[in-house]
Symmetry: C2
Subunit: 219 residues, 2 copies
């Protein structure tokens, strides 16, 4: 029972670290404007190693990352986005539609790295623990891995943008992944052109930060 134990002492996180962590959360952005500079492969592999430290239901580790490198696959994903984004734009009217049309909602064309992130619904890892009444916890585990990747990337000055304006089944077909893999996110990754403290959707007046009163309730 003690085989996994090590002599390493638990760290104590001091004020300086907590200050830095707060800055990391404050300055993490959904990046859509990238420099063309390539991202070293070992850096991506390091970040994926850290992502695998994310919590997962039953320790199922259901995250599967696909690096989309073929030009034909990238063009198919961009076409997928363009169709879905045009349909989304058509659902808005008046000023909201004009504002939507003015937003830059993905950096698919510019990002040097594309990562499609899936949840493997066929995995036997975790032996189903914790999934009986809330099976969606498997998908949520992948979100935790994505968020871990995102935070580590930002700490390494690398930007990440999450694109959800895609037909997920079409992405699965384009990338020819196993039938039981569910697309959770499509990520654009690269060095950002700009740094901002405020989210793009706040800066461009799409949605303000909500008041704290909405957040905590008591029972």
């Amino acid at each position: 029972m003690k085989s996994g134990q090590t002599a390493e002492k638990a760290p104590v996180f001091g004020d300086a670290f907590i200050h830095g962590l707060t800055d990391l959360f404050r300055w993490r952005r959904d990046v859509r404007r990238f420099k063309p500079d390539p991202v070293p492969s070992p850096l991506i592999e390091k970040l994926l190693g850290l992502a695998a430290l994310a919590p997962s239901v039953g320790n199922s580790q259901p995250w599967r990352f696909v690096s989309v490198e073929m030009l034909s696959a990238r063009e198919a994903v961009i076409a997928n986005f363009n169709v879905c984004n045009a349909a989304a734009l058509a659902s808005y009217e008046g000023e909201r539609a004009a504002l939507y049309a003015s937003l830059k909602l993905s950096g698919l064309r510019e990002a040097p790295v594309h990562l499609a992130v899936f949840c493997d619904h066929a995995t036997e890892a975790g032996f189903g623990l914790g999934q009986t009444t809330m099976p969606e916890a498997l998908d949520y585990s992948v979100v935790a891995a994505i968020h871990t990747f995102w935070l580590c990337a930002r700490a390494e000055n690398l930007g990440v943008g999450w694109v959800s304006i895609l037909d997920p089944r079409q992405v699965c077909r384009t990338l020819d992944v196993p039938a039981q893999w569910k697309l959770i996110a499509y990520l654009c990754v690269g060095f950002p052109l700009e740094e901002h403290l405020d989210p793009e959707l706040v800066r461009h007046e799409w949605q303000v930060h909500l008041a704290e009163t909405k957040r905590l309730h008591r029972r």
Copy 2:
């Protein structure tokens, strides 16, 4: 358009911070064994403020946290867990069943703070941006907030345990939340009795850490 800009300079995260961040990911645990010590309310409020810096689709910020304080509500959640956990145990056989029965899967009885975390599907914030083709991105935003809370909590030496062995509709009824709130997670929060580098489910031989080869694929 520049109203949200500030003069604050973007931080540069150095090697010491990245080392600390890596330790945070390595030492974050799903905690089920808590000290009885109370958690100061201002600390919980600080952590919820940081959680609200999480990414959300369309900046919708759909996370709603309910602090479960009434004894009757806590007892109902514990009864809910006990029924679901017994049903889950009955689905295993032989050695797996014996191993499952030996696991401590929640700290509901001991944890001084219970937080039920919901996604508000009725929110108009975000104006639906990014949700047309992948509506589940709204739920995923709440997971990112939970993970943010979890990481900040660990940095403050506070333990968090995510309980998914619950009937979510029954939790909604117990807590009498609005009809369009969906339960994403039920969290136990408190100061941990023990610190471990290895996950409980690895230490107790339920599920090992998967090899890296499962993780990254190329197309």
